[in-house]
């Protein structure tokens, strides 16, 4: 079903938040989680002049409202996907938002995780309060821009629109990384900016090739014409360019040199958002392209090769890392390689495994970066940290065990899914990937256990380093995410079944086309 959004309703909602909420409960309201943070981001600065308290509350309020709207829409509209034509302009001409369960799930995750890792919540020491008050509105505005762009990435059904949201997310993240005014963060931002901007250039070239071959950038229409126009080397070249371009944010192999530097210099919560959330949305875009537009097996193989390289380089670099943030950063490169490998498996199995490993990494790595907020020193300095913060150390061990894939936890079932999928694929490349994953798991276990061991060692006396326990808010968030992990691990069967339904829906190309174009386009011509 296509639900058209009348222009007056759109503008009415923009200007007046107190609109009758019953009208918001339609599927059209799904544009609000994109529009409202954008509006709030630009209102932030003037609002801060009037009332600082209101400006501080604005971000969390908007995100909570966004999460509520998405949940409500999901419950009202039900499991079937729907599309919304923005401004009432129908699909091939106008821009559509396509909301299936995967898109809604990630859009919801964006709101929830941005709220959990909101930069202004309960971290500021009293000494920094004055400087922070100056900076807070700007930083909050950037965080809202990031949330808006990320939600747009999850929902948009138009490739150029996706490109614009991707750039918006990039610019917001540049600002957030160097928000705390240190020289090293600025250098890292510059290097990140150059890599990211060049990736965008490559993606733009890929988009140009797609448009040249097909004459459209609407994903549903691309899916219709792709089997005739995008087979062969030109289509593959376009996919390679888009993969490398969007792969910058997804921390995929060739253009991920920015990852360790940025995560070592940025505020830990920003690292958590970039590593946990934004990378998953970039992967989501790549997966949509892979399913809808590039169905040739070579495209999946390319993703698989990049994934294997990412897993190997990431895990071995993490093994060599000397400090906690960079260890997490390299491990995140490795995990995202695993996500890429999972999505390259054919059919529903691949989508199921990929979605599961992406969600798992979202939960685990965000929580770990939250814990790293106060533990940002070298690994040796962590000795004895468990004494000061026994609960945080316990949570670290839980997350580490799940990352490695120790049986009762969710991480084990995910790795099992991926390995079964790879064995079923059976091609030499699949088996190579299988070997790489096993090797990487061993390496991962070694360095994570090494950190766990440090945490429980007696503190080194001559170093006399007083490690502050992680902030209460961060520990609370880690508790919440740890509880999520345990609940999912216990309820593994219903979770996997729900994800299987979701994966089947995502993999259904005809459903996507029929949802965006209610009558087949062929009839019109």
């Amino acid at each position: 079903m296509t639900l058209e959004l009348p222009v007056d309703l759109l503008f009415g909602l923009n200007l007046d938040l107190n609109l009758d909420l019953t009208r918001v409960m339609t599927a059209n309201a799904i544009v609000l989680p994109v529009v409202l943070p954008l509006l709030a981001a630009f209102l932030m600065q003037p609002l801060a002049q009037v009332s600082r308290l209101l400006a501080r509350l604005l971000g969390p309020l908007v995100l909570t409202l966004g999460a509520w709207i998405i949940l409500n829409t999901w419950l009202e509209v039900g499991p079937a996907p729907f599309s919304v034509a923005i401004g009432g302009f129908a699909a091939p001409l106008g821009i559509v938002f396509y909301a299936d369960q995967l898109a809604l799930l990630f859009a919801l995750a964006v709101q929830v995780f941005t709220l959990l890792f909101w930069p202004g919540l309960g971290v500021v020491a009293k000494a920094e309060a004055a400087a922070d008050r100056q900076r807070a509105p700007r930083r909050d505005a950037l965080a809202l821009l990031l949330a808006s762009a990320a939600t747009g990435l999850a929902l948009s059904g138009d490739l150029f629109n996706i490109f614009v949201f991707y750039e918006l997310a990039a610019v917001a993240s540049f600002g957030l990384v160097c928000a705390d005014d240190s020289g090293r963060a600025r250098i890292a931002t510059l290097r990140y900016l150059f890599i990211s901007a060049f990736g965008s250039v490559l993606a733009l070239v890929g988009i140009a090739i797609l448009y040249l071959q097909t004459g459209t950038l609407n994903l549903a229409q691309l899916a219709q014409v792709a089997p005739e126009t995008l087979q062969g080397p030109i289509g593959l070249a376009a996919f390679a360019l888009l993969l490398i371009g969007f792969g910058v944010k997804a921390e995929l192999f060739p253009l991920n040199a920015w990852v360790p530097e940025v995560y070592a210099t940025a505020p830990a919560r920003v690292s958590a958002l970039l590593a946990g959330l934004i990378s998953k949305l970039a992967i989501l875009v790549i997966v949509r392209l892979l399913i809808l537009v590039f169905q040739q097996p070579e495209a999946s193989q390319l993703l698989l090769v990049l994934g294997v390289l990412g897993v190997l380089t990431g895990e071995f670099s993490a093994w060599r890392a000397q400090d906690f943030p960079r260890l997490l950063a390299f491990s995140s490169i490795g995990q995202l390689g695993l996500v890429a490998i999972a999505f390259s498996i054919d059919g529903t199995t691949g989508l199921l495994a990929g979605t599961a490993v992406a969600l798992h990494h979202l939960i685990v790595k965000s929580a770990l970066f939250g814990l790293a907020n106060r533990w940002s020193g070298g690994l040796d300095a962590l000795a004895g940290a468990a004494k000061g913060a026994p609960r945080a150390a316990g949570l670290f061990v839980l997350f580490a065990l799940s990352l490695i894939g120790v049986p009762p936890l969710w991480g084990f079932w995910i790795k099992l899914l991926i390995m079964v999928g790879l064995v079923q694929g059976g091609a030499p490349l699949d088996l190579l990937a299988l070997g790489a994953i096993l090797l990487a798991t061993a390496v991962e276990a070694h360095y994570l256990f090494r950190v766990a061991l440090r945490l429980y060692q007696p503190p080194v006396p001559d170093r006399a380093l007083r490690l502050a326990p992680p902030a209460r808010w961060d520990t609370g968030v880690a508790y919440l995410l740890g509880a999520c992990l345990v609940v999912i691990s216990v309820a593994i069967t219903p979770t996997t079944e729900a994800l299987r339904v979701l994966a089947q829906q995502t993999g259904d190309v005809l459903l996507y086309i029929d949802t965006v174009f209610p009558q087949p386009l062929a009839d019109k011509e």
Partner: protein, 163 residues
């Protein structure tokens, strides 16, 4: 045999610009040159995007311009390229702003130098040994102190080339 039409040459030029820009980003160590290389790559991509709407002998897609019924070039890529240009300019402006701040704190725009300083600072903040290289064994060649921005500016006035 490739026909050497205007279109082919333009396509080759656009892709060439992207390649030159990419090479410039890899080869150059001066941050401002890297920025120029990035701008070049971006204009290559934009040119390619405009070219996708090109039709031989067509006119600009404006209502009431040219004879009625004449073939028009595709207007969509032109709209897209406007967006792409604006995004590109925004990112470049942001890059210049950060670049100026970096120059004020470190007095240099040399990428290798800056990267070494960043690694050193990260290591110092984490309390671990800075990564060394074969040329400068650990602890034997400490990084020179960061020069004062005002001093750097006075001692090395901006010279116009050829002036």
């Amino acid at each position: 045999m490739i026909p050497w039409s205007l279109e082919t040459v333009s396509y080759a030029g656009a892709i060439g610009l992207v390649v030159i820009g990419g090479l410039g980003l890899v080869i150059c160590n001066h941050l401002f040159r890297m920025l120029l290389a990035l701008a070049m790559a971006e204009s290559g991509a934009n040119l390619l995007l405009v070219l996708t709407g090109f039709r031989d002998g067509a006119i600009a897609p404006i209502i009431g311009y040219g004879p009625a019924g004449a073939p028009l070039v595709d207007p969509l890529p032109q709209v897209l390229v406007l967006t792409a240009i604006v995004i590109g300019v925004g990112v470049q402006a942001l890059a210049v702003a950060v670049l100026v701040r970096v120059y004020r704190s470190y007095g240099t725009l040399d990428m290798r130098d800056l990267r070494r300083r960043m690694e050193g600072e990260i290591a110092a903040a984490a309390g671990i040994a800075a990564p060394g290289s074969a040329q400068a064994p650990l602890g034997q060649r400490p990084l020179p102190p960061v020069p004062d921005y005002e001093l750097v500016r006075r001692s090395a006035p901006v010279r116009e080339r050829g002036a």
